[in-house]
Symmetry: C2
Subunit: 286 residues, 2 copies
């Protein structure tokens, strides 16, 4: 049962860093035992969904042979999403693509959410394998971030799903493992590496949004010029509006000053982020 929250007064002036505002919360100690013990109390549906991602379903010995595998369903769903966006992934469409009826899918996934979990993990794929011989952490992290961004652009429907909150499968963890491995050579402590991981991953996801929007438009058949026109017309409302003088200056900045591609822009920001991390690394390990 959801509880009522206070009505919608617009969130006004929020104080600076030190105040403990919305979302701040004591992080519990996550030791192995605690986790295993706490897991018992997890919402059974979430647990079920998580297990579907991890437990290799041992197919039962009795009864008719299944005509499909979960992977078949996932692949069909991903093809639909790649071709026509997430909205094209309906149970009916997926089943039809496989030559089955809608309800047959429910023998493989208990509901659509569970299917979504699966296509997120399959769709995100695996990170680039770490180079041998290993490179310095900045180079490796740069590769990782660009790869992750490329995946999100190649499959823009991934960002439509709440894929940070959802149950995480092996592929998802493999991305975390990869960047953790790269950051391990910094000499930072485990908790600090976790922090840096959040920073890089947060930047990567957040800063990919514009490119994802373009990729989504492109997948819908919109040309790049049309997309740029729409975005430009939208932000262009700032021009001449007395409320947005400074931002209008950004919009109308000479085009030869700005980066040529969205990816270059992403990389520029990434290098600033890594600069900041590098300072910290040096200050700690000096």
């Amino acid at each position: 049962m959801a509880r009522k929250k206070k009505p919608n007064d617009l969130p006004a002036r929020t104080g600076p860093a030190k105040k403990s505002s919305g979302g701040g919360s004591p992080k519990p100690p996550l030791t192995h035992d605690d986790i295993m013990q706490a897991a018992v109390r997890v919402d059974p549906e979430l647990r079920r969904r998580s297990e579907l991602l991890w437990d290799d379903r041992t197919l039962p010995t009795r009864g008719p042979k299944p005509g499909l595998t979960p992977d078949d369903v996932v692949n069909a769903a991903i093809q639909l999403a790649d071709a026509d966006g997430l909205a094209a992934v309906t149970m009916h469409a997926v089943a039809a693509a496989l030559g089955f009826t809608t309800m047959a899918l429910y023998r493989y996934f208990p509901n659509k959410e569970a299917l979504y979990d699966a296509i997120v993990d399959a769709g995100i794929g695996r990170p680039p394998s770490l180079p041998a011989p290993r490179e310095d952490w900045r180079t490796e992290v740069t590769t990782w971030a660009h790869a992750k961004r490329a995946v999100l652009c190649a499959r823009p429907w991934l960002a439509e799903l709440p894929f940070v909150a959802a149950p995480h499968g092996p592929n998802w963890l493999s991305w975390l493992e990869a960047i953790t491995d790269s950051l391990s050579t910094t000499g930072l402590g485990a908790a600090e590496i976790g922090q840096m991981l959040s920073v890089i991953d947060g930047y990567t996801r957040g800063a990919s949004d514009t490119a994802i929007s373009l990729a989504r438009a492109r997948a819908r058949g919109t040309s790049e010029a049309e997309w740029a026109a729409a975005v430009g017309a939208d932000l262009g409302r700032a021009i001449g509006d007395p409320r947005f003088p400074k931002f209008a200056g950004i919009i109308t900045a000479p085009s030869d000053e700005r980066p040529r591609t969205l990816e270059e822009s992403f990389d520029f920001g990434l290098q600033r982020v890594l600069d900041g991390i590098e300072i910290y690394v040096r200050s700690v390990t000096a």
Copy 2:
């Protein structure tokens, strides 16, 4: 009409920074004239939606007096979203909350997407006003980022909407104006300020995701402990799994090393990002 794309080979090893992979695209010159000229070619539906956010609808002189205003509808929708999440925002529910029938809403918004546009802009509200006397850019930007994060946590349903791509209203632009204003004192050029804006905003949105997930769970009535248990059990699968040795080390790091709240963690990352930007500022303006 959407076109078929190539089927789903998992995105493998993506090359490092320099290759122009998915999402990279020449950014068109956005001068005032170009924008106004290009805007003509924008998808009419998008244009319509954008206009609904900007044009003060002059109410017609003939006919019965409207029993509602668009703002009434928006407020009702926001209350529902705040209370029970975005899924609770159905045309029927919004209308019922106002004491009208479903179809009455279509006199105010042509479709649900347009209503979504409106609740995004209203829901995001206005940024904190800049202090007088002005402070240094780092302090101001820090305030801005924490405020934005607080809004996203207070209204976790905002992040469920593709609110980067959607038509942007005046409130949205006012956030951009505020941070542009703060960054203007760095002495950077307009295009560079645009870059830094993307970096900070990207980090802020991306790094808020965990807290948003918590806020969403809380809004659903899940306790903080339950949420932490679910997340812990999920990521805890890395523990003992030979595929994720390094990441398991992060998960099991002693709890006294890690930041106490999610907000502290956010701020730590933000300061790294700002460190990186500050280096750049000094290198350019030296």
